[in-house]
């Protein structure tokens, strides 16, 4: 111990103490922090953000500006969240071909899910926003379709029609049909409110409510939906029914009338 105390004023003593202290804190940190995983994750995350940024610069930046700050051609993406990216790119709406249309329409998606996730990671890194929902959140399994129907008629049908067949909005915009839309995308749309749609965050419609709505749509507008009355005629209500009645109903009856009238009993020759 004497040797040690003798050298306590040695010029290098401070450095040695510092080294020890660093080693101790470092050791403690490695001992207590879930070091390996965090390290790996953060690298993966930053890698995804890095890759996403590259994709963003190629596909999105021309309208949304560098760093997602927005431009005259596209809104700022700061704070829109991963859910918005997953919806917009996943349904092919983004990247849009032009900002001049009344509405950006659904088209074929050209990105892989991995690329979309990278883009989403990058956009999410710009500012906090709704995250991508998990399968448990959006799956209609076990949800209450009847409750969902009530919610749908209260919140959605004024634009999307009774059973989600879509409807018109002003100036050429429209609420699209919800037939065959992936439950994940329906969930994300409700959460983020794309384009003209209002958003329904969890404070307005809980995750359970959203699931109910998805279950309702699956029941009335899904692959397994049956129409007990026969042909659905687009599910558009009285306009298509009226057209059908005129063309096929009355049309057929007039054809029958022509046929009957053409078959006259021959007058007896006398």
């Amino acid at each position: 111990m004497k040797k040690l105390s003798e050298r306590r004023r040695h010029p290098l003593a401070a450095i040695v103490v510092l080294l020890f202290a660093l080693a101790a804190t470092g050791g403690l940190y490695t001992a207590f922090a879930p070091a390996d995983k965090a390290q790996a994750d953060s690298t993966a995350q930053s890698l995804a953000i890095e890759e996403g940024k590259k994709l963003y610069e190629v596909g999105c930046a021309s309208c949304h500006g560098t760093g997602g700050k927005g431009s005259s051609d596209g809104p700022s993406l700061v704070g829109v969240g991963a859910a918005a990216v997953d919806f917009q790119v996943g349904t092919g709406r983004m990247p849009a071909s032009t900002s001049q249309q009344a509405q950006v329409e659904k088209k074929k998606n050209i990105y892989s899910q991995a690329q979309i996730d990278q883009l989403a990671a990058y956009i999410a890194s710009l500012g906090a926003g709704p995250a991508k929902p998990t399968k448990d959140e959006y799956s209609p399994e076990g949800a209450d379709a009847a409750k969902g129907g009530e919610l749908f008629r209260t919140n959605c049908s004024q634009c999307h029609n009774f059973t989600g067949k879509g409807g018109a909005l002003t100036d050429g915009k429209f609420a699209p049909s919800l037939e065959g839309v992936d439950p994940k995308h329906i969930y994300e749309a409700m959460q983020t409110g794309p384009q003209n749609m209002p958003s329904f965050p969890d404070t307005t419609l809980t995750s359970q409510n959203k699931q109910d709505i998805i279950a309702y749509l699956k029941a009335v507008d899904g692959d397994e939906t049956t129409n007990p009355g026969g042909l659905e005629l687009g599910g558009l209500g009285p306009v298509s029914e009226g057209l059908f009645a005129w063309i096929f109903g009355l049309g057929a009856l007039i054809a029958v009338a022509v046929w009957v009238a053409a078959r006259t009993a021959k007058a007896k020759k006398s």
Binding site: Q158, G167, T170, G229, G230, L236, E241, W246, F248, A265
Partner: protein, 546 residues
Amino acid sequence: MSTASASNEPRRRGKAPAGERVADWADGRLGIYSLAKANMRKIFPDHWSFMLGEVCMYSFIIIILTGVYLTLFFHPSMNEVQYHGSYVPLQGQMMSEAFNSTLHISFEVRGGLLIRQIHHWAALIFLAGMFVHMMRVFFTGAFRKPREVNWLFGFLLFVLGMFTGFTGYSLPDDLLSGTGVRFMEGAILSVPIVGTYLSFFLFGGEFPGGDFVARFYSIHILLLPGIMLGLMVAHLILVFYHKHTQYAGPGKTNNNVVGMPLLPVYMAKAGGFFFLVFGVIAVVAAIAQINPIWAIGPYRPDQVSTGAQPDWYMGFSEGLIRVMPGWEINFWGHTLVLGVFIPLMIFPLVLVAIAVYPFIESWVTGDKREHHILDRPRNAPTRTAFGVAWMTWYFVLLIGGGNDLFATHFSLSINAITWFVRIAFFVAPVLAFIITKRICLGLQRRDKEKVLHGRESGIIKRLPHGEFIEVHEPLSQEQLHTLTAHEQYSPLELGPTVDENGVERKIKAPQKLRAKLSKAYYGEHNQVPKPTVEEYKEITSGHGHH
């Protein structure tokens, strides 16, 4: 008929056959023999367009039959109940008993859904049939004396049919029809001063109240169909009384009817036709779904859906509201909602415009004679043009009523469609009038050409000196008759403007208007004079054909 032939045979001993005894018994009490004798041989002309009225009558009968079945299961009550039926996506929802029982009819009652669909499809077809039947009567001038009253009966049937349809559409108390009833309530409320009172009276308090389904029910199943049935019988009695009109043709005059007797020929055809109509409607109802109330959901005043339209026959009123600018005037704490009130005022005008036309025409022409020979539409260009203009007006409004679906299905802007309808509401009927009149006159000219020069045969002949000519085939005597059978009026003359003393004669304004209209009907450029016998003889007497 068996009675008639039996009397010619030698008298039998013992009792007469059972059929004869029954007939005798009935005749002694009901006097049916003379009635039947007078009417069984009634002649009806054969033409498909004369069967449109039958389509209406049969679909009306089908509606009554299916409607009776539906009343057996429908509960016209707005009491709230919880759904526990077999349709899962409504399980546990609160709804009115009316909606609940309609679901019950659709899913649990045997044949219920099919009957419901037949009832609804037949209603749409009934109204469409009446529309087409009315247009047939209009364009052929069948409304002229003595049939003006019957024209009005038919028109009333159409209007009552609209309201019977509307009340029936409202009965299931679903979200779609509830929106329609709300629409009607808004229209009533827009009436100045009395609107609110009327609305409270009709709904038994604030909308929707708990009464309207029960009230609409008795209107739908009792009041309106009762009146309609009476009108329809009167309509048919008048058809019998006036005898049927017929198209011009050889042997057909204003004083005869050429066709088949009611019994047996026409009765057999009509009976068969009833089953054909029933069959077609049943097939349509079996194939295509109509008003799927389970997908639409129960009515709640806080809910609404896009694409909420009435059935087609009310569509023009929807159009009127949709395209009307939302004007309103506020004064002394009151609001006059012109955006709704003006359409409400135009709504009856659209209908009345076509209903009063026959009376305007007879006033203009001053024609008080009976007409039993139908006009070809081209030979009455002004009438035809008016009818087409009215139909154009009507269909423009139907486009307005479905503007959202036109927007989504043709990728158009709903605003553009609304503006199109606003402008077309005023412009399209005028254009249709002018164009139709030109077409009619063109067709008249073609008829004249055909009478004088014959039908174009399509055979091209080369003459020895190299000229090419088309060979025209002369028409048969029958065709010539048909094409020249119509009579042409000359415009009304007001007479000299001064009397015998050189003093200016006073002519009343209505007379001047009448003369002006008459000129527009029959003036120089408003009809093509039909070929005269002299013209025909001169041309056909020899010297070439052109």
